[in-house]
Assembly symmetry: C2
Homo-oligomer: 374 residues x 2
DNA sequence: CAGGGCTATGTTTCCGGTAACATTTCCGGT
DNA sequence: ACCGGAAATGTTACCGGAAACATAGCCCTG
């Protein structure tokens, strides 16, 4: 619960040398390398049954939580289970039941804050439900890589697949795929195509714009993400809507690729004829790049121009200046997606939480407009 | 291969609304929710055998790449395979062979750049070898969470476990665990405990210090990570060794927790009596925090004080000023770890690449010393 | 042209669970 | 004490592959 924000933040976690565990190591093969094999064969329900003096079926029943077992019998089974340190063999179970208690997650990136947080939330939600999440990354731009990944996923009999589609290509690829198992294609709802716009769109971005407007800004520019990302489209659309609604003026939209580099380049290109006093970037990284471009041109943030991001990555609070941004709860998105998927699998209504709130986090990269800007 | 650095960098990848795939949807349950079930039962080798007019064993043999099959027979099998769109049931296979072609990866965080890149590399390497990587995150500080995760992992019969231990607690927990399968505990080699120090320690950090020394710096301070992290210890030790070796002077070490916040706080605390002109942070985030603390105190980076990080996270190049740092190849670390694990599993010598190079990336946060610093 | 040794293919069994069906045990009522 | 029926437990079959073992077909040799 509280672990996410706790002090246990990862460091570089570098992996270089290695120790090797030995847990039944009776065998030497490589130099200095221990092999950990199971010392004794894993106990099966048959072993347990014999030890308890009952039939294997009784054990099976107990394991599945069947009620009608005499306390005395149950007692014996429990003891045998304990004594033999029984662990179910999920492969065998899934072979008969056809259910596997594992979910596949397809995503294109796990190094970025957004996707990785989503996965973290998804993974946690899955585990709470007794599932394991197999994360498969694929190269969006390479159709073959996508197919390979899908192939892989379909073989490892999964209870369901969570297809995290960020781009149109991915959505398309996923939608054209027969996963043969329940599949939930989680894409940011394309606000233009009906459905409920996200909280970010309806509340978050408008409040961000409002914040800037209240500081005196009237002329804006937006640094969008690639438009193949529905998230980028939504944000851009929400930006325009908010601008229009509040009677402000947009000096235009430039397109980056989510990276700080693109924010730097694209905004830099616009600098000579920059009429705006507020830069609204579609994510924090591009905002960072934009701020550098501005400061290198002798334009002060926030004295001359205000800059905002979206996401609130952990570093954003320590940019120079600290970045005003919208906090997005990615982990919750991951959880939600998993719950939807589990709903599909169990054919029950998933428990749907409230729309995910996005919250304005004002910091020092936005300030009252001043000076004789055009 | 080239995908890692390609333009396909993840954006926020937000997941909010959802589309649902329907691939055999003959059934309606929830409102607007399609269920994708397999239309027809998956073909088995028995089906294929019948279709090809051979025994199931022949099919099985073919699938495993057995040589002695007459071309004509093989032909028939191939056709039947094709026609029935056969996909092996890995659960059944692993039940008999006891091998599962899935690896478990235990880690404590996937949102940070380091760990996530490591996982990405590991995942890719695993997939190339025909394995799927199950990523299980656990809360390091919670012993019960660790146990639960281990329990989960041990049930889902895995071919091996990659235990990514960054902290001593984790190393300890992992070493005290009987995974029953080959397990490779990947911790950054503790340089103090023998073994080959990493490239970062032997070449990277010394060259970083040298870079600073060449700019005239003589007095240093180090912002270390938590000392329960072997990576933090190694970096601190390497820092001290390099300082000593080059006849420089360390004004001390302060301890952060890898976050920008800690860099800000800890360096801020030292500011009043800061004798150093160069700050060497153990990662880029802490360097970022430190730079903010400095600039808020009117100390210019790099004019008054130089700051360096380690890792070279993507944003580092766009900090204000852009951060001089050491680039670390995390993905390669993940690959290596997987290869070691596969070596254990197959009882063969893993193919070991060269030590992972770390490279100095000089940027504008370091500069020639000047002014009347004490 | 029969017999020996391969080679190609088929049959049976097993892996560790679950499901369906069969049987025994227990219990209350008369 | 006996009986019926539900409750508790046991038996058998099956999931989809792979391994062990069995057998049929082939070529070559003497």
């Amino acid at each position: 619960m509280h672990a996410e924000e706790a002090g246990a933040v990862a460091g570089p976690g570098a992996v270089a040398g290695a120790a090797t565990t030995v847990s039944g190591g009776d065998d030497e093969s490589g130099p200095g390398v221990g092999i950990s094999g199971s010392a004794t064969r894993q106990a099966t329900i048959y072993d347990v049954a014999e030890a308890a003096g009952v039939s294997h079926q009784t054990v099976s029943r107990f394991l599945r939580g069947f009620e009608g077992i005499r306390p005395q019998t149950k007692q014996r089974v429990v003891e045998a289970l304990e004594r033999l340190n029984y662990r179910p063999n999920l492969a065998a179970r899934s072979l008969t039941t056809g259910q596997s208690h594992r979910l596949g997650a397809l995503t294109h990136e796990i190094s970025q804050v957004g996707p990785s947080k989503i996965l973290q939330g998804a993974s946690a939600a899955a585990r709470e439900a007794g599932y394991l999440l197999d994360i498969v990354t694929l190269d969006v731009s390479d159709r073959r890589s996508i197919d390979e990944a899908l192939e892989l996923v379909m073989q490892h009999d999964l209870a369901g697949v969570l297809a995290l589609a960020s781009t149109d290509e991915m959505t398309e690829a996923f939608e054209g795929t027969d996963f043969r198992v329940p599949a939930y294609i989680a894409a940011e709802q394309d606000d233009a195509r009906g459905g409920h716009p996200s909280h970010l769109t309806t509340v978050g971005l408008p409040s961000l714009i409002e914040h800037l407007a209240s500081l005196g800004h009237r002329k804006f520019i937006h640094i969008a993400g690639p438009f193949t990302y529905s998230a980028a489209r939504n944000r851009a659309r929400a930006y325009e809507a908010a601008i229009a609604q509040q009677g402000l003026h947009s000096e235009g939209i430039v397109y980056g690729d989510w990276t700080a580099s693109s924010g730097y380049e694209e905004l830099g290109r616009r600098l000579p004829h920059l009429g705006a006093t507020a830069v609204v970037a579609a994510n924090d990284q591009m905002a960072l790049g934009a701020m550098l471009a501005l400061s290198e041109s002798g334009i002060s943030v926030p004295d001359d121009v205000s800059v905002t991001g979206i996401d609130d990555i952990p570093e954003a609070a320590y940019f120079s200046p600290p970045l005003t941004t919208l906090r997005v709860d990615f982990a919750a998105q991951g959880r939600t997606a998993v719950q939807e998927l589990l709903g599909l699998i169990n054919r029950t209504e998933p428990l749907r939480g409230p729309a995910l709130p996005s919250e304005l986090v004002p910091r020092r990269s936005t300030g009252r407009m001043r000076g004789p800007q055009s």
